[in-house]
Protein backbone atom coordinates (compact mmCIF):
# COMPACT_ATOMS: atom_id res chain seq x y z
CA UNK A 1 0.00 0.00 0.00
CA UNK A 2 1.33 3.46 -0.82
CA UNK A 3 2.84 5.08 2.27
CA UNK A 4 0.82 8.31 2.05
CA UNK A 5 -2.59 6.78 1.28
CA UNK A 6 -5.42 8.79 2.87
CA UNK A 7 -3.25 11.83 3.47
CA UNK A 8 -3.50 15.21 1.85
CA UNK A 9 -0.68 17.54 0.84
CA UNK A 10 -0.14 21.07 -0.32
CA UNK A 11 2.88 21.79 -2.49
CA UNK A 12 3.54 25.48 -3.05
CA UNK A 13 5.08 26.55 -6.31
CA UNK A 14 4.24 23.24 -7.90
CA UNK A 15 3.55 24.20 -11.50
CA UNK A 16 7.08 23.33 -12.62
CA UNK A 17 10.55 22.26 -11.63
CA UNK A 18 11.13 20.68 -8.24
CA UNK A 19 7.63 21.53 -6.98
CA UNK A 20 6.05 19.75 -9.90
CA UNK A 21 8.15 16.65 -9.27
CA UNK A 22 7.24 16.70 -5.57
CA UNK A 23 3.50 16.97 -6.30
CA UNK A 24 3.68 14.01 -8.68
CA UNK A 25 5.79 11.95 -6.26
CA UNK A 26 3.48 12.54 -3.28
CA UNK A 27 0.42 11.74 -5.40
CA UNK A 28 2.12 8.57 -6.66
CA UNK A 29 2.57 7.60 -3.02
CA UNK A 30 -1.17 7.99 -2.42
CA UNK A 31 -1.58 11.54 -1.13
CA UNK A 32 -4.27 13.87 -2.46
CA UNK A 33 -2.28 16.88 -3.63
CA UNK A 34 -3.10 20.54 -3.97
CA UNK A 35 -0.87 22.01 -6.66
CA UNK A 36 -0.30 25.64 -5.81
CA UNK A 37 0.88 28.12 -8.42
CA UNK A 38 1.12 31.88 -8.66
CA UNK A 39 0.72 32.67 -12.34
CA UNK A 40 1.35 29.58 -14.48
CA UNK A 41 -2.15 28.19 -14.54
CA UNK A 42 -1.66 26.05 -17.63
CA UNK A 43 1.42 24.40 -16.19
CA UNK A 44 -0.35 23.74 -12.89
CA UNK A 45 -3.34 22.25 -14.68
CA UNK A 46 -0.98 20.01 -16.63
CA UNK A 47 0.46 18.70 -13.34
CA UNK A 48 -3.06 18.00 -12.07
CA UNK A 49 -3.89 16.19 -15.33
CA UNK A 50 -0.77 14.07 -15.09
CA UNK A 51 -1.58 13.05 -11.52
CA UNK A 52 -5.19 12.24 -12.36
CA UNK A 53 -4.20 10.25 -15.44
CA UNK A 54 -2.06 8.09 -13.17
CA UNK A 55 -5.07 7.49 -10.92
CA UNK A 56 -4.19 10.05 -8.27
CA UNK A 57 -6.13 12.91 -6.70
CA UNK A 58 -5.14 16.51 -7.30
CA UNK A 59 -6.49 20.02 -7.50
CA UNK A 60 -4.76 23.28 -8.30
CA UNK A 61 -5.13 26.70 -6.74
CA UNK A 62 -3.61 30.09 -7.54
CA UNK A 63 -2.07 31.91 -4.59
CA UNK A 64 0.91 34.14 -3.98
CA UNK A 65 2.57 32.70 -0.86
CA UNK A 66 3.78 36.17 0.11
CA UNK A 67 0.15 37.33 0.46
CA UNK A 68 -1.50 36.62 3.80
CA UNK A 69 -4.98 36.69 2.26
CA UNK A 70 -3.96 34.37 -0.56
CA UNK A 71 -2.38 31.85 1.79
CA UNK A 72 -5.43 31.80 4.03
CA UNK A 73 -7.58 31.00 1.01
CA UNK A 74 -5.12 28.39 -0.22
CA UNK A 75 -5.14 26.49 3.06
CA UNK A 76 -8.91 26.78 3.42
CA UNK A 77 -9.33 25.46 -0.13
CA UNK A 78 -7.16 22.42 0.61
CA UNK A 79 -8.97 21.74 3.85
CA UNK A 80 -12.35 21.95 2.15
CA UNK A 81 -11.27 19.91 -0.85
CA UNK A 82 -9.59 17.08 1.04
CA UNK A 83 -11.07 17.33 4.55
CA UNK A 84 -7.68 17.37 6.27
CA UNK A 85 -4.13 18.60 5.87
CA UNK A 86 -1.24 16.23 6.59
CA UNK A 87 1.70 17.46 4.54
CA UNK A 88 2.81 20.96 3.69
CA UNK A 89 5.71 21.35 1.28
CA UNK A 90 6.95 24.93 1.15
CA UNK A 91 8.64 24.91 -2.21
CA UNK A 92 7.72 28.24 -3.82
CA UNK A 93 10.85 30.30 -4.26
CA UNK A 94 12.43 32.93 -6.45
CA UNK A 95 15.94 34.12 -7.30
CA UNK A 96 17.06 37.67 -8.08
CA UNK A 97 20.83 37.27 -8.25
CA UNK A 98 23.24 40.16 -8.20
CA UNK A 99 26.34 41.25 -6.36
CA UNK A 100 25.22 42.83 -3.12
CA UNK A 101 26.70 46.21 -3.97
CA UNK A 102 24.54 46.33 -7.09
CA UNK A 103 21.45 44.67 -5.66
CA UNK A 104 18.23 46.64 -5.81
CA UNK A 105 16.13 46.78 -2.69
CA UNK A 106 13.25 45.36 -4.71
CA UNK A 107 15.37 42.31 -5.50
CA UNK A 108 16.21 41.79 -1.85
CA UNK A 109 12.57 42.23 -0.83
CA UNK A 110 11.14 40.00 -3.55
CA UNK A 111 13.33 37.09 -2.50
CA UNK A 112 12.67 37.50 1.20
CA UNK A 113 8.93 37.93 0.59
CA UNK A 114 8.49 34.68 -1.28
CA UNK A 115 11.23 32.52 0.20
CA UNK A 116 10.96 33.46 3.86
CA UNK A 117 7.71 35.30 4.53
CA UNK A 118 5.93 32.82 2.25
CA UNK A 119 7.19 29.91 4.35
CA UNK A 120 6.13 31.64 7.56
CA UNK A 121 2.62 32.33 6.25
CA UNK A 122 2.13 28.87 4.76
CA UNK A 123 3.16 27.16 7.98
CA UNK A 124 1.21 29.48 10.26
CA UNK A 125 -2.02 29.04 8.36
CA UNK A 126 -1.59 25.25 8.26
CA UNK A 127 -1.10 24.90 11.99
CA UNK A 128 -4.74 25.06 13.12
CA UNK A 129 -5.41 21.98 11.00
CA UNK A 130 -2.31 20.04 11.94
CA UNK A 131 -2.53 20.89 15.63
CA UNK A 132 -6.11 19.72 15.90
CA UNK A 133 -5.16 16.49 14.09
CA UNK A 134 -2.18 16.06 16.43
CA UNK A 135 -0.09 15.20 13.41
CA UNK A 136 1.49 16.81 10.43
CA UNK A 137 4.54 17.02 8.27
CA UNK A 138 6.13 20.24 7.17
CA UNK A 139 8.93 20.13 4.65
CA UNK A 140 10.65 23.26 3.50
CA UNK A 141 12.80 23.49 0.39
CA UNK A 142 16.03 25.12 1.46
CA UNK A 143 19.29 25.16 -0.48
CA UNK A 144 22.83 23.95 0.04
CA UNK A 145 23.80 27.58 -0.52
CA UNK A 146 22.34 28.45 2.90
CA UNK A 147 25.23 26.52 4.41
CA UNK A 148 27.93 27.37 1.89
CA UNK A 149 27.10 30.92 0.85
CA UNK A 150 28.00 32.00 -2.63
CA UNK A 151 28.84 35.01 -4.74
CA UNK A 152 25.97 36.96 -6.25
CA UNK A 153 23.02 35.67 -4.30
CA UNK A 154 23.26 37.04 -0.77
CA UNK A 155 19.50 37.63 -0.78
CA UNK A 156 18.70 34.04 -1.75
CA UNK A 157 21.24 32.61 0.69
CA UNK A 158 19.92 34.79 3.51
CA UNK A 159 16.35 33.73 2.76
CA UNK A 160 17.29 30.06 2.88
CA UNK A 161 19.44 30.49 5.98
CA UNK A 162 16.45 32.04 7.69
CA UNK A 163 14.34 29.10 6.63
CA UNK A 164 16.85 26.61 8.07
CA UNK A 165 16.77 28.41 11.40
CA UNK A 166 12.97 28.47 11.28
CA UNK A 167 12.86 24.73 10.66
CA UNK A 168 14.94 24.01 13.75
CA UNK A 169 12.87 26.33 15.94
CA UNK A 170 9.58 24.95 14.71
CA UNK A 171 10.70 21.37 15.13
CA UNK A 172 11.06 22.08 18.84
CA UNK A 173 7.89 24.15 19.04
CA UNK A 174 5.63 21.69 17.27
CA UNK A 175 6.95 18.30 18.35
CA UNK A 176 4.50 18.14 21.28
CA UNK A 177 1.65 18.20 18.74
CA UNK A 178 3.09 15.40 16.63
CA UNK A 179 4.15 17.75 13.85
CA UNK A 180 7.54 17.11 12.28
CA UNK A 181 9.39 19.93 10.53
CA UNK A 182 12.30 19.28 8.19
CA UNK A 183 14.02 20.79 5.20
CA UNK A 184 15.54 19.45 2.04
CA UNK A 185 18.57 21.37 0.80
CA UNK A 186 19.13 20.67 -2.89
CA UNK A 187 22.42 21.19 -4.64
CA UNK A 188 22.42 22.13 -8.31
CA UNK A 189 19.29 20.66 -9.86
CA UNK A 190 18.31 20.80 -13.51
CA UNK A 191 15.46 23.33 -13.47
CA UNK A 192 14.66 26.67 -15.06
CA UNK A 193 15.78 28.37 -11.85
CA UNK A 194 19.33 27.10 -12.22
CA UNK A 195 19.60 27.78 -15.98
CA UNK A 196 21.65 30.91 -15.51
CA UNK A 197 24.13 29.51 -13.03
CA UNK A 198 24.54 26.36 -15.11
CA UNK A 199 25.18 28.42 -18.24
CA UNK A 200 27.65 30.78 -16.59
CA UNK A 201 29.52 28.42 -14.29
CA UNK A 202 28.69 24.90 -15.39
CA UNK A 203 32.25 23.57 -15.51
CA UNK A 204 33.24 25.23 -12.26
CA UNK A 205 30.21 23.75 -10.52
CA UNK A 206 30.71 20.29 -11.94
CA UNK A 207 34.26 20.27 -10.55
CA UNK A 208 32.78 20.61 -7.07
CA UNK A 209 30.29 17.75 -7.41
CA UNK A 210 31.88 14.41 -6.51
CA UNK A 211 29.10 12.51 -8.30
CA UNK A 212 29.98 14.46 -11.47
CA UNK A 213 26.41 15.13 -12.52
CA UNK A 214 23.62 17.56 -11.74
CA UNK A 215 20.58 16.48 -9.77
CA UNK A 216 17.14 15.85 -11.22
CA UNK A 217 13.93 17.28 -9.68
CA UNK A 218 12.71 13.73 -9.07
CA UNK A 219 15.68 13.08 -6.79
CA UNK A 220 14.63 15.97 -4.59
CA UNK A 221 11.03 14.79 -4.72
CA UNK A 222 12.01 11.36 -3.41
CA UNK A 223 13.81 12.96 -0.46
CA UNK A 224 10.68 14.97 0.31
CA UNK A 225 8.54 11.87 0.05
CA UNK A 226 10.85 10.08 2.49
CA UNK A 227 10.62 12.89 5.05
CA UNK A 228 6.83 12.93 4.68
CA UNK A 229 6.55 9.18 5.12
CA UNK A 230 6.37 7.04 8.27
CA UNK A 231 9.92 5.91 7.45
CA UNK A 232 11.06 9.27 8.80
CA UNK A 233 8.86 9.12 11.89
CA UNK A 234 11.70 10.02 14.28
CA UNK A 235 13.25 12.74 12.15
CA UNK A 236 12.52 16.37 12.90
CA UNK A 237 14.51 19.59 12.69
CA UNK A 238 16.78 18.08 10.07
CA UNK A 239 18.20 19.74 6.98
CA UNK A 240 18.69 16.93 4.46
CA UNK A 241 21.30 17.79 1.85
CA UNK A 242 20.57 16.27 -1.54
CA UNK A 243 23.55 17.47 -3.49
CA UNK A 244 25.56 14.66 -5.02
CA UNK A 245 28.22 15.60 -2.49
CA UNK A 246 28.47 19.20 -3.77
CA UNK A 247 31.15 21.07 -1.88
CA UNK A 248 32.36 18.21 0.27
Amino acid sequence: MPTLQGQSAIVTGASRGIGRAIAIELAHEGAAVLVNYRSRQEDAEAVVCEIRRAGGTAECYAADVASEADVRKLIAFASNAFGRLDILVCNAGVVRDNLLGAMKLDDWDAVMQTNTRGVFLSIRESLPHMMSQRSGNIIVLSSISAERGGRGHANYVASKGAVNAMVKSLAVELAPRGIRVNAVAPGIIVTEMTNRIRNFAGAEIMAQIPMKRLGQPEEIARAVRFLASPDASYITGHILNVTGGFGL
Partner: protein, 195 residues
Amino acid sequence: MADASVTQLSPDVVEQKVLEIIAKAMDRPVSEVKPTSSLEADLGAQSLDFLDIAFSLEREFRIQFPRADFLQRASDHFGEENLVKNGVITELGLKLLAKGMPEIDPAQLTSGLRVDRVRQMFVVATFIRVVNQLLEAKASMDRTCPKCQAQMNDSPSLPELVCPACGNSVPLPSGDDVLFQHLVSIQSAVAGEAK
Protein backbone atom coordinates in the same frame (compact mmCIF):
# COMPACT_ATOMS: atom_id res chain seq x y z
CA MET B 1 -30.56 39.08 9.25
CA ALA B 2 -27.72 37.71 11.33
CA ASP B 3 -26.59 34.13 11.07
CA ALA B 4 -28.72 32.84 13.91
CA SER B 5 -26.94 29.53 14.16
CA VAL B 6 -23.74 31.19 15.23
CA THR B 7 -24.42 34.61 16.66
CA GLN B 8 -27.37 33.83 18.87
CA LEU B 9 -25.98 30.96 20.85
CA SER B 10 -27.18 30.99 24.43
CA PRO B 11 -24.56 31.56 27.14
CA ASP B 12 -25.07 28.01 28.36
CA VAL B 13 -24.35 26.58 24.93
CA VAL B 14 -21.26 28.74 24.52
CA GLU B 15 -19.98 27.67 27.92
CA GLN B 16 -20.56 24.00 27.23
CA LYS B 17 -18.80 24.16 23.86
CA VAL B 18 -15.82 25.98 25.37
CA LEU B 19 -15.56 23.36 28.10
CA GLU B 20 -15.65 20.60 25.50
CA ILE B 21 -13.00 22.25 23.34
CA ILE B 22 -10.64 22.83 26.25
CA ALA B 23 -11.19 19.27 27.48
CA LYS B 24 -10.35 17.91 24.06
CA ALA B 25 -7.26 20.10 23.69
CA MET B 26 -6.02 18.99 27.10
CA ASP B 27 -6.94 15.33 26.54
CA ARG B 28 -9.19 15.24 29.60
CA PRO B 29 -12.80 14.24 30.19
CA VAL B 30 -15.05 17.26 30.07
CA SER B 31 -16.17 16.52 33.62
CA GLU B 32 -12.71 17.61 34.81
CA VAL B 33 -13.00 21.03 33.20
CA LYS B 34 -14.89 23.72 35.15
CA PRO B 35 -15.21 27.44 34.48
CA THR B 36 -13.07 27.99 37.55
CA SER B 37 -10.33 25.56 36.44
CA SER B 38 -6.94 27.18 36.02
CA LEU B 39 -5.53 26.36 32.61
CA GLU B 40 -1.98 25.92 33.88
CA ALA B 41 -2.36 24.79 37.47
CA ASP B 42 -5.40 22.53 37.12
CA LEU B 43 -5.23 21.40 33.50
CA GLY B 44 -1.48 21.52 32.88
CA ALA B 45 -1.69 23.80 29.87
CA GLN B 46 1.50 25.04 28.23
CA SER B 47 1.88 27.84 25.72
CA LEU B 48 1.17 25.60 22.73
CA ASP B 49 -2.06 24.43 24.39
CA PHE B 50 -3.29 28.02 24.60
CA LEU B 51 -2.75 28.35 20.87
CA ASP B 52 -4.42 25.02 20.20
CA ILE B 53 -7.46 26.08 22.21
CA ALA B 54 -7.61 29.41 20.37
CA PHE B 55 -7.53 27.64 16.98
CA SER B 56 -10.31 25.29 17.99
CA LEU B 57 -12.48 28.11 19.35
CA GLU B 58 -11.97 30.04 16.12
CA ARG B 59 -13.21 27.12 14.08
CA GLU B 60 -16.13 26.29 16.35
CA PHE B 61 -17.47 29.82 16.70
CA ARG B 62 -16.07 31.37 13.51
CA ILE B 63 -14.34 34.17 15.35
CA GLN B 64 -10.84 35.64 15.30
CA PHE B 65 -9.35 34.96 18.68
CA PRO B 66 -6.91 37.55 20.05
CA ARG B 67 -3.23 36.77 19.73
CA ALA B 68 -2.01 39.23 22.40
CA ASP B 69 -2.87 38.73 26.06
CA PHE B 70 -4.57 41.34 28.20
CA LEU B 71 -1.41 42.88 29.62
CA GLN B 72 0.22 43.12 26.19
CA ARG B 73 -2.77 45.03 24.85
CA ALA B 74 -2.93 47.22 27.95
CA SER B 75 0.81 47.94 27.67
CA ASP B 76 0.36 49.15 24.10
CA HIS B 77 -2.32 51.54 25.30
CA PHE B 78 -1.04 52.72 28.67
CA GLY B 79 2.68 52.25 28.15
CA GLU B 80 4.42 49.22 29.58
CA GLU B 81 6.29 51.27 32.19
CA ASN B 82 2.95 52.32 33.70
CA LEU B 83 1.78 48.74 34.11
CA VAL B 84 4.90 46.77 34.92
CA LYS B 85 8.01 47.90 36.78
CA ASN B 86 10.92 45.52 37.28
CA GLY B 87 8.69 42.57 36.51
CA VAL B 88 6.06 43.58 39.07
CA ILE B 89 2.59 44.77 38.13
CA THR B 90 1.84 48.33 39.21
CA GLU B 91 -1.30 49.43 41.09
CA LEU B 92 -2.77 50.68 37.80
CA GLY B 93 -2.00 47.31 36.23
CA LEU B 94 -3.74 45.50 39.08
CA LYS B 95 -6.83 47.70 38.73
CA LEU B 96 -6.96 47.08 34.99
CA LEU B 97 -6.65 43.34 35.50
CA ALA B 98 -9.45 43.36 38.07
CA LYS B 99 -11.77 45.20 35.67
CA GLY B 100 -10.65 43.55 32.48
CA MET B 101 -10.48 39.97 33.74
CA PRO B 102 -13.27 39.84 36.33
CA GLU B 103 -13.08 36.04 36.47
CA ILE B 104 -9.74 36.25 38.31
CA ASP B 105 -10.05 35.81 42.06
CA PRO B 106 -9.48 39.37 43.45
CA ALA B 107 -7.56 37.87 46.36
CA GLN B 108 -4.80 36.98 43.88
CA LEU B 109 -4.42 40.55 42.64
CA THR B 110 -2.24 41.83 45.44
CA SER B 111 0.69 44.24 45.51
CA GLY B 112 3.95 42.73 44.36
CA LEU B 113 2.29 40.39 41.84
CA ARG B 114 4.84 39.44 39.26
CA VAL B 115 3.87 39.72 35.60
CA ASP B 116 4.86 36.13 34.84
CA ARG B 117 2.25 34.97 37.34
CA VAL B 118 -0.67 36.42 35.37
CA ARG B 119 -0.77 33.66 32.84
CA GLN B 120 -1.22 31.19 35.67
CA MET B 121 -4.40 33.00 36.59
CA PHE B 122 -6.11 32.25 33.31
CA VAL B 123 -9.14 30.14 34.02
CA VAL B 124 -11.61 28.46 31.70
CA ALA B 125 -14.02 31.32 32.37
CA THR B 126 -11.48 33.66 30.74
CA PHE B 127 -12.00 31.85 27.45
CA ILE B 128 -15.77 31.77 27.90
CA ARG B 129 -15.84 35.54 28.48
CA VAL B 130 -13.64 36.27 25.47
CA VAL B 131 -15.70 34.03 23.19
CA ASN B 132 -18.88 35.81 24.30
CA GLN B 133 -17.29 39.19 23.66
CA LEU B 134 -16.21 38.16 20.18
CA LEU B 135 -19.61 36.67 19.37
CA GLU B 136 -21.27 39.91 20.47
CA ALA B 137 -18.90 41.91 18.28
CA LYS B 138 -19.71 39.67 15.34
CA ALA B 139 -23.45 39.86 15.95
CA SER B 140 -23.27 43.65 15.95
CA MET B 141 -21.52 43.80 12.55
CA ASP B 142 -23.42 45.34 9.69
CA ARG B 143 -24.06 42.39 7.42
CA THR B 144 -25.11 44.45 4.44
CA CYS B 145 -22.73 43.84 1.56
CA PRO B 146 -20.97 47.14 0.84
CA LYS B 147 -20.93 46.30 -2.86
CA CYS B 148 -24.40 44.97 -3.63
CA GLN B 149 -26.39 45.50 -0.41
CA ALA B 150 -27.31 41.81 -0.07
CA GLN B 151 -27.08 40.14 3.34
CA MET B 152 -23.70 38.54 3.99
CA ASN B 153 -23.16 35.17 5.71
CA ASP B 154 -20.36 33.70 7.78
CA SER B 155 -17.68 32.11 5.63
CA PRO B 156 -17.56 28.37 6.27
CA SER B 157 -13.77 28.33 6.45
CA LEU B 158 -12.31 31.82 6.79
CA PRO B 159 -12.68 34.57 9.42
CA GLU B 160 -14.86 36.73 7.22
CA LEU B 161 -18.38 37.42 6.01
CA VAL B 162 -19.14 36.43 2.46
CA CYS B 163 -21.81 37.85 0.19
CA PRO B 164 -23.78 35.03 -1.44
CA ALA B 165 -24.88 37.38 -4.22
CA CYS B 166 -21.65 38.95 -5.44
CA GLY B 167 -18.93 36.97 -3.64
CA ASN B 168 -17.52 40.01 -1.84
CA SER B 169 -15.93 39.31 1.54
CA VAL B 170 -15.44 41.42 4.66
CA PRO B 171 -13.06 40.31 7.43
CA LEU B 172 -14.39 39.77 10.93
CA PRO B 173 -13.09 42.17 13.54
CA SER B 174 -9.85 40.83 14.98
CA GLY B 175 -9.98 39.56 18.52
CA ASP B 176 -7.23 41.96 19.49
CA ASP B 177 -9.25 44.92 18.18
CA VAL B 178 -12.42 43.83 19.97
CA LEU B 179 -10.67 43.40 23.28
CA PHE B 180 -8.78 46.64 22.81
CA GLN B 181 -12.12 48.43 22.58
CA HIS B 182 -13.10 46.67 25.79
CA LEU B 183 -9.92 47.95 27.40
CA VAL B 184 -10.69 51.50 26.32
CA SER B 185 -14.21 51.17 27.73
CA ILE B 186 -12.94 50.20 31.17
CA GLN B 187 -10.23 52.84 31.17
CA SER B 188 -12.44 55.62 32.51
CA ALA B 189 -13.78 53.40 35.29
CA VAL B 190 -10.25 52.54 36.35
CA ALA B 191 -9.13 56.16 36.12
CA GLY B 192 -12.11 57.19 38.28
CA GLU B 193 -11.16 54.70 40.98
CA ALA B 194 -7.56 55.78 40.88
CA LYS B 195 -8.46 59.34 41.89
